[in-house]
């Protein structure tokens, strides 16, 4: 192969290698892009306070609520809803309390993630205050009590008459310090 041909080939090789590098960068750029899209569309915003619905206060349909909690196997949390069942009315301001214990002998930082059953009820349970809005830190063995304040939106479809609200508590790695 003549050398002029070879240098033409090298130019193309470099361009293609740059495309590959740019695409590697693109994979990382997807992380902030994903975040921006989720924020702009309001997807995934389980951990942000909602506004109280317009008709709040005007008592409406009766809903049966169950409060629950889950801890992944191997994590040293103890979580207990102080109220486990409650009959509520849509539009009513409700407060329930959760008690969370760090049952380990080290400082831990936890993050609670709420889940609803049926999932469709999620968008109608408007949380005004919740410990799940931010990471919570615990000293070894410490127990803390947290309120959850919410309103069930009267706009919720009538066919939902029972709602379970369950929290899973995760450990935020690298925050507690061993």
């Amino acid at each position: 192969m003549e050398s002029s041909q070879h240098s033409v080939n090298l130019v193309l090789l470099k361009k293609l290698a740059i495309i590959a590098l740019v695409m590697f960068g693109f994979a990382w750029a997807l992380v902030p892009m994903y975040r921006v899209i989720c924020e702009a569309t309001g997807l995934n915003q389980i951990a942000v306070a909602d506004a109280a619905p317009m008709q709040a206060g005007a008592a409406g349909a009766q809903i049966e609520m169950t409060f629950d909690s889950m801890v992944q196997a191997g994590l040293p949390w103890r979580v207990r809803p102080l109220t486990s069942h409650l009959k509520v009315k849509t539009g009513e301001f409700i407060r329930v309390d959760y008690e969370i214990t760090n049952a380990s002998d080290r400082r831990m930082v936890g993050q609670a993630v709420p889940r609803y059953l049926p999932a469709a009820a999620g968008e109608y349970v408007k949380k005004l205050d919740c410990f799940c809005f931010k990471q919570q830190s615990f000293e070894p063995g410490q127990t803390k009590r947290f309120p959850v304040v919410f309103v069930v939106d009267p706009k919720m479809p009538r066919d939902i008459s029972t709602i379970t609200l369950a929290y899973s508590i995760f450990e935020v790695p690298g925050q507690g310090g061993l």
Partner: protein, 542 residues
């Protein structure tokens, strides 16, 4: 008719190093192609053994042979090895062997980089296989390596991530070589809109690889830093999101399935015209269909994620975009059928595999369109229906096309004819047992059997038994292929320069077996569509 045979130089006369160093230091595109093909066959066998372990366990409900942990390692490594070890390297091997012959180039553009591309693969394969032996065993998160499973497992996962990095670099270097060769080294007269469909298909595939393998590398690197360096890309508690992993993975993953399909389309576009003795119908539309599949494949990734709770508008977008891909794919299928229409067909083994490909790949395409309906997919996702779908497009698609290619070009590569009778037995055997294995999986999926599980409810027993029996016979049949190859390489009938009457691309214009240094001087060509050679001047081999 162009008949330029280089009688001054008997093939094998000089310039070919011997022994092990010929292979370790190989820079000749034919040697490297041969290495790729044997490597991928070895990977095909080891991935196949894992598949048989899976089918043995699933023959009956309950746990027979393997604990669930090991079972999951088998499904994961089976997928990874077949995708990255068998199918992709086999296509790269064919491209290495054939591209320079088809376009009149002396070799691939970067011979030494070519050597690197290949020799990165065996260490990666060893890493994958060795990971079974480390504490915690091999990766067991499925070939998609979804977080958060992949951010939790033992060091087998680290070895898998490293192997993916290596194989990614290998395939990117291989692709750069392919693109530069095709764009810069075509002989005079071999214009882009005349060159063979196989060259077009590998060109577009190579671009896809360069665009998406780095994205996969990025995704698994994030898994790696989540595992060891305290980042939280995919860790919900740390502010990350496991769904993000799926988006990044499938941005790679869907183009990847076309990386395994486009070269197959290219092969079929050679075999069908040859044995129908007619030029390929609609060559230009084939080129445009291939390109538009390549472009569309970037816009449909979330059809793998209909069950993740996407907003309805996004589901609709990905659903319609996915259905749109069926249009250019359909164009190709109709073009192949139109090529056969009123042709004077004969049914040698490559043609049988090509026709088998068209029929079965189309079934896979149809189940794909079924899955693309978001509302339906929510029920079928992660069920055996999906397993049936992708084995129709990958086994009866990619793999059958590879068999067609090997039988078709075997005479040119080795100078010998394969055993036609054994070839036909191999085809019918594979066709029947393939369907016995995978067709019942549609029913299993529709009835609700989930994929990637070692045990299942009793009502799924019969179809699982059928599938397992089919799998073992299918596997056995591949030994017929191996036997045919080994015996024919040594003792096959000598092959003529052009064993197939209807073959008209450039590689059939040179002596058989292809001289070690073909087209040391570029020929001057007069070319019709799909690389058909009308006239050839010059072109020296030695």
């Amino acid at each position: 008719m162009a008949t330029v045979t280089d009688t001054q130089h008997a093939p094998h006369s000089h310039g070919k190093p011997s022994g092990l160093s010929r292979w370790l230091t190989a820079t000749n595109h034919k040697d490297i192609g041969t290495l790729y093909l044997w490597f991928s066959f070895a990977m095909f066998l080891s991935g196949g053994v894992m598949a048989l372990c899976i089918r043995a366990e699933l023959f009956h409900p309950g746990l027979q042979f393997f604990q669930p942990e090991l079972f999951n390692q088998f499904t994961t490594l089976h997928g990874l090895i077949m995708v990255f070890g068998a199918i992709m390297p086999a296509f790269t091997g064919l491209a290495n062997w054939l591209l320079p012959l088809m376009i009149g180039a002396p070799d691939m553009a970067f011979a030494r980089m070519n050597n690197w591309s290949f020799w990165l693969l065996p260490p990666a394969a060893l890493l994958l296989l060795a990971s079974f032996a480390v504490p915690g065993g091999a990766a067991a998160a499925g070939w998609t390596l979804y977080a958060p499973l992949s951010t939790q497992m033992g060091m087998g996962m680290d070895m898998t991530i490293f192997a993916i990095h290596i194989m990614g670099i290998s395939s990117i270097m291989g692709s750069i070589n392919i693109i530069v060769t095709i764009l810069n080294l075509r002989a005079p007269g071999m214009t882009l809109m005349k060159m063979p469909m196989f060259a077009w298909a590998t060109l577009i595939t190579a671009y896809l690889i360069i665009a998406v393998m780095p994205v996969l590398a990025g995704a698994v690197t994030m898994v790696l830093t989540d595992r060891h360096f305290g980042t939280h890309f995919f860790n919900a508690a740390g502010g990350g999101d496991p769904i993000l992993y799926q988006h990044v993975f499938w941005f790679f993953g869907h183009p990847e399935v076309y990386i395994m399909a486009l070269p197959a389309f290219g092969i079929i576009s050679h075999v069908i015209p040859t044995f129908a003795r007619k030029p390929l119908f609609g060559y230009t539309s084939m080129v445009y269909a291939t390109s538009s599949i390549g472009i569309l494949s970037f816009m449909v990734w979330a059809h793998h994620m209909f069950a993740t709770g996407m907003p309805a508008t996004a589901q609709l977008f990905f659903m319609y975009a996915t259905m749109l891909i069926a249009v250019p794919t359909g164009v190709k299928v109709f073009n192949w059928i139109a090529t056969m229409w009123e042709g004077s067909m004969t049914f040698e083994t490559p043609m049988l595999f090509a026709i088998g490909f068209i029929m079965l790949f189309t079934i896979g395409g149809l189940s794909g369109v079924t899955l693309s309906v978001a509302a339906v997919d929510i029920a079928l996702h992660a069920s055996y229906y999906v397993v049936a779908h992708f084995h129709y497009v990958l086994v009866a698609g990619a793999l059958f096309s590879l068999f067609a290619a090997i039988y078709y070009w075997f005479p040119k590569m080795t100078g010998k004819m394969y055993n036609e009778r054994l070839g036909k037995v191999h085809f019918w055997w594979s066709l029947i047992w393939f369907n016995v294995t995978f067709f019942p999986m549609h029913f299993l999926g529709l009835a609700g059997m989930p994929r990637r599980i070692p045990d299942y409810a009793l009502q799924f027993t019969t179809f699982n038994e059928i599938a397992s029996v089919g799998a073992f016979f299918f596997g056995l049949g591949q030994l017929i292929f191996l036997y045919n190859m080994l015996v024919s390489i040594r003792r096959g009938e000598p092959a003529p320069q052009k064993p197939w009457e209807g073959a008209d691309t450039l590689e059939w214009q040179i002596p058989t077996p292809a001289p070690y240094h073909s087209f040391a001087e570029a020929p001057e060509l007069e070319v019709a569509e799909n690389g058909a050679i009308r006239a050839m001047k010059g072109g020296k081999h030695h």
